[in-house]
């Protein structure tokens, strides 16, 4: 594994990753009214409700079980979403989490390189299932640039927090660009040109997730709680 600029790798422990995703879930749940409003403009209006159901179940599950590795955290979040949400987002967001850790050896610390590797696998899983590409006005428009940013940061030996900041900015930029796009999937597809001017709800959730991951991890750093290899 490559060393970071200062020669040490920062990482999150399994416990910290669990708390991180509980925080991410809470932030997405808090955004329910916004997500509902965005999705009502061009979709079914059920995205915020679905994400709330999914993350509520995921958080409940994470609090109930003994989490021994990071793989379990991702798997449980994914399964909670797939089993409880319904709609397209249940399968797609659930697949993102399940595919992230599918066929991976046991992971007990989350470095930048590992995180980049997980989200790359998650992205590939979502694309294999949903068939969407960048530019189709879906969650991929925010996810793909964030994953690219993380991969580049790994190559450049960037610091974890710095890398998460760039990923978060790229997700937001990708989200912003969905406003210019015609939709290729879901109910918004039938709106044609009328979807232009509206951002995609799934991409919004991805952007909120990356923003809250960055916030949480930079807070850990500020508090001196990040771990070093």
């Amino acid at each position: 594994m490559v060393a970071e600029t200062d020669g040490v790798q920062t990482y999150l422990s399994t416990k910290q990753v669990k708390d991180l995703y509980i925080y991410v879930g809470q932030k997405v749940i808090e955004a329910k009214p916004t997500l509902t409003e965005i999705d009502s403009a061009i979709g079914d209006g059920d995205h915020g409700i679905g994400m709330e159901v999914g993350f509520n179940k995921a958080i409940q599950q994470l609090n109930e079980i003994e989490v021994e590795d990071i793989n379990t955290i991702y798997k449980e979040i994914g399964k909670a979403m797939i089993s409880n949400m319904g709609g397209a987002s249940g399968v797609l967001f659930g697949t993102f989490f399940v595919a992230s850790v599918k066929n991976k050896p046991v992971i007990d610390r989350l470095t930048l390189a590992t995180f980049a590797h997980l989200v790359q696998s998650g992205l590939e899983g979502v694309q294999a299932r949903g068939k969407a590409k960048v530019g189709d006005k879906t969650m991929i428009d925010a996810l793909a640039p964030a994953v690219d940013a993380l991969n580049t940061a790994v190559e450049q030996n960037k610091d974890l927090v710095e890398a998460l900041q760039v990923a978060c900015e790229q997700a937001e930029l990708g989200l912003e660009q969905t406003k210019q796009l015609v939709a290729k999937f879901g109910r918004a597809k039938s709106l044609g040109e009328r979807a232009i001017g509206h951002q995609d709800a799934g991409a919004t959730t991805i952007s909120i997730m990356f923003k809250s991951i960055f916030d949480y991890v930079s807070n850990l750093k500020t508090n001196g709680e990040l771990l070093y290899e």
Binding site: D44, G45, G86, V91, R129, S190
Partner: protein, 333 residues
């Protein structure tokens, strides 16, 4: 919009409970899911349908004898979870496979496909027929992109009859696919429905306007016009179908005039009167007609017209008797 409900979050659960409370002699709920299956598990290929709620009596009302054996339903206008589809599948599989028949929507396809993968892990073979009868939802070149609306009724009817004939899964799928390929629909909306969880209307439309081709979740249609007479409207709607499927003199069709929720039978019969007149003028023979509200959009007002072009094979399966509390054919031939 006023609705007779309790907590909006519980509408689907409570609806399924009420359905089972009424028809529990013949149906049961699949544990921990909003899946409904017939009580006597068939020893043959099983037929499963499903989709979002809010279209009642579709989908649970199309579960019955000579129809679907089970239905997996989701929240209002939202696809069922893979788990729901999988549990219904496991409940019904006799080792001879399960056919999924449902309308072509991204969410439904994702969830049913995922369920099919999970079923495969449990050694259950599935096949899928997507219904895409709505001619207003995409051009003929992009017919694979079209949505499924009331055409589901014909596809499920044929699938159930073919399965009852103890055919293989491949054969049941082939015949059902043919029924879907031979079916075209178009709808018109007069007023919107409101979703229980948000209380909001799915679209806005002026009192004197209608929207041709609007989908069953309020998806935009092809044309918004001033209100027309039933005769004008029916003729305009049928033109879309005639432009899309080749129908010649002496061809035989089944007709379904379907209400979208709050449109009265009186209006549906007035539409049907004109449908018959136009088909007669063209020399197209009407083999059977159904006038009912099977595929609805909560309390939306509007109507859809569906034609299924018959051949001998489809006619044979259409003729088989079928029964559910919401759909029945006496059977003939």
């Amino acid at each position: 919009m006023k609705k007779v409900i309790n907590n909006p979050e519980n509408v689907v659960n409570e609806m399924v409970e009420g359905f089972i409370a009424a028809f529990g002699n013949d149906y049961k709920k699949v544990h921990h899911t909003n899946g409904v299956v017939i009580k006597n598990k068939p020893n043959r290929v099983a037929v499963v349908t499903g989709g979002g709620s809010g279209h009642e009596p579709l989908f649970i009302g199309m579960v019955g004898e000579g129809l679907a054996d089970g239905a997996a339903i989701g929240n209002v206008f939202a696809a069922p979870t893979p788990n729901t589809v999988l549990e219904v599948t496991k409940e019904l599989d006799s080792g001879q496979g399960v056919l999924y028949v449902y309308g072509n929507y991204s969410g439904d396809v994702l969830n049913f496909d995922m369920a099919a993968e999970l079923a495969e892990l449990e050694d259950i073979t599935t096949k899928t027929v997507l219904v895409n009868d709505d001619v207003a939802s995409a051009t003929k070149e992009h017919a694979f992109d079209r949505r499924g609306i009331a055409g589901d009724i014909f596809a499920i009817k044929i699938a159930g009859a073919a399965a009852n004939d103890n055919l293989t899964l491949e054969e049941v799928a082939r015949i059902t696919q043919k029924a879907a390929n031979h079916t075209r629909s178009i709808g018109v909306a007069l007023s919107p429905s409101s979703i229980p969880s948000t209380g909001k209307y799915t679209f806005e439309i002026a009192d004197d306007e209608i929207e041709l081709g609007m989908g069953i979740h309020g998806e935009p249609g092809v044309k918004r016009t001033k209100l027309q007479t039933a005769d004008e409207l029916t003729a305009n709607m049928l033109d879309y179908i005639f432009d899309d499927i080749e129908l010649q003199e002496n061809d035989e069709v089944c007709v379904l005039v379907n209400g979208l929720g709050s449109t009265t039978l009186m209006e549906l019969f007035i539409v049907n009167r004109k449908v018959v007149e136009i088909l007669n003028e063209k020399g197209i023979s009407i083999y059977d007609t159904d006038v009912n509200s099977y595929c609805t959009t909560l309390e939306m007002a509007g109507v859809s017209i569906t034609l299924m072009k018959l051949d001998d094979e489809l006619k044979n399966y259409y003729d088989k008797p079928a029964y559910s509390p919401y759909y029945f054919k006496k059977g003939r031939g």
